[in-house]
């Protein structure tokens, strides 16, 4: 598939960052949800975003595929300026996969249909090829035998792995994860994290909102701490956990490791 946008902009130049955010401001009505966000994510980089509830973590990553529109600033994804118009938004969404806390699988479709819908409708891939790709990714997330089932027949962990496979079927350049394990029973968390670790090893660019600090230590290139709509601290995991610079970060880390 070509990744040249209709106006001739090309996204694939190796030097461009995966995501660039510059002076981004986001309001919900009068509530200031993101305050002057500057962030650059390199290709292949794994970013973990953490912070207290309501700090703007979801909002931040939802801006990357424009599930939330921003009021100010520039967002460039894979060389395509999102904030420049709806055509670019469509283009970016094709190349950015997202996994939600609540899975958001399509309940009226089988696992296989969930995985083939977008490639067929958006990329124009024919059914047999879409199914081949889907089975390949279902194999990768280790549930090839569930292809004909409906989401409701699967466990939470299995559903979330289907959601990951569904996103991968679009052959994304960037994957966004919004608390992918928070809705799971504890015994299913690791099967999803393992899938994400595999994906990280394969070199996928990832932005992950999670409180799984073990995952952050193991996978993240950088950890972002957010509070009240601001990026308070960005650091490599070692420095982030052993020597947080900011008081608010220390308080937060104390709270989540405290229990």
């Amino acid at each position: 598939m070509s990744n040249t946008s209709p106006d001739g902009r090309s996204g694939a130049a190796a030097g461009t960052p995966a995501v660039e955010m510059e002076g981004v401001e986001k309001y919900y009505g009068t509530f200031h949800a993101l305050k002057h966000i500057d962030l650059t994510v390199a290709r292949g980089e794994k970013i973990v975003v953490c912070g207290p509830s309501g700090s703007g973590k979801s909002t931040l990553i939802r801006c990357v595929n424009q599930l939330e529109a921003v009021q100010k600033g520039r967002i460039v994804v894979d060389g395509i300026e999102l904030t420049a118009g709806p055509k670019n938004v469509e283009q970016v969404r094709r190349d950015v996969g997202m996994v939600f806390q609540q899975f958001n699988l399509f309940p009226h479709m089988t696992v296989l249909q969930n995985c083939t819908l977008a490639p067929m409708k958006v990329r124009g891939v024919d059914r047999s090829e879409a199914e081949k790709t889907a089975r390949k990714f279902l194999e990768r997330v280790r549930i090839p035998e569930q292809a004909e089932k409906y989401p409701a027949q699967l466990s939470g962990g299995q559903q979330q792995r289907v959601a990951i496979a569904r996103a991968l079927c679009m052959n994304p350049k960037i994957m966004l994860f919004d608390e992918p394990t928070s809705a799971l029973d504890p015994e299913m968390v690791s099967e999803v994290l393992d899938t994400m670790i595999d994906l990280a090893r394969e070199g996928m660019t990832m932005m992950v909102v999670t409180h799984e600090m073990g995952f952050a230590r193991q996978v993240a290139d950088r950890v972002i701490f957010m509070d009240r709509g601001e990026i308070v601290e960005i650091a490599e995991p070692n420095a982030f956990f052993s020597n947080p610079q900011h008081e608010r970060t220390r308080t937060f880390l104390g709270q989540i490791t405290g229990h």
Binding site: E90, F100, N104, K121
Partner: protein, 218 residues
């Protein structure tokens, strides 16, 4: 001259069912198309179409069906379409059904969790594919029971078309009654015939509602 109420008279009434059913079918088919449009406008992101559709719905929900029939009937005449009960009744009932089905279906579309649309957007699906493949199929499942429920209302509503001279079940009853003067027998028969059509549909609607309730419990 008074005629006795015999088999011929009764059969005249029974055969008028076909016109009630035909009018209901036209209004329902037209209302389904109009209702889908209204529902989609009502959930649109843009403000103007949303408000236009809302105004339409409020207008038809806030006035009696009989007035809607009169206005269309006389309105068509004023605009040169002449006196045409078929056209007037079909058009008025279609407009009426569009408003009510539109509002029912809007509710069903909005009952589909927003995560379904978000997942569609995140996958890059456009408006048409998101609606056609993701949102509407799920909304349709919820919509079946209330839609059948409205169909029952619509069938009963077609009786008002008798007033503008459309010969359906009720009008056939009036015609026979004017000749036989046995109103209790005549309109008793008419009522029974409506009941025979509507009762099974009501049962169906209730059954589907129960089935849906069970399905969503899982």
């Amino acid at each position: 001259m008074i005629r006795p109420f015999g088999l011929d008279e009764a059969l005249f009434i029974v055969f008028a069912i076909q016109w009630t059913l035909a009018l209901s079918a036209i209004a329902f088919a037209g209302g389904a198309v109009g209702g889908l449009i209204i529902a989609l406008l009502r959930v649109s992101q843009a403000r103007l179409p949303r408000y236009l559709a809302l105004g339409y719905v409020r207008l038809f929900q806030g006035t009696p069906l009989l007035m809607q029939l009169f206005l269309v009937y006389f309105g068509l005449n004023i605009f040169g379409a002449g006196i045409n009960p078929w056209l007037a009744a079909s058009l008025a009932l279609t407009l009426h059904a569009s408003a009510f089905l539109g509002e029912i279906w809007r509710g069903c579309i909005q009952a589909v969790p927003s995560g379904q649309s978000e997942a569609s957007w995140a996958l890059g699906l456009g408006y048409v594919d998101r609606m056609k493949s993701v949102v509407l199929p799920q909304a349709a499942k919820i919509a079946v029971a209330p839609t059948v429920g409205f169909l029952v209302q619509l069938i009963k509503g077609t009786s008002l078309a008798s007033i503008i001279g459309f010969v359906e079940l009720t009008r056939a009853g009036q015609i026979i009654n004017n000749a036989t003067f046995v109103p209790f027998k005549v309109f008793g028969l008419v009522a029974i015939l409506y009941f025979v059509i509507c009762w099974p549909l009501s049962l169906l609607a209730r059954w589907m509602e129960r089935r849906f309730a069970v399905a969503t419990q899982r």
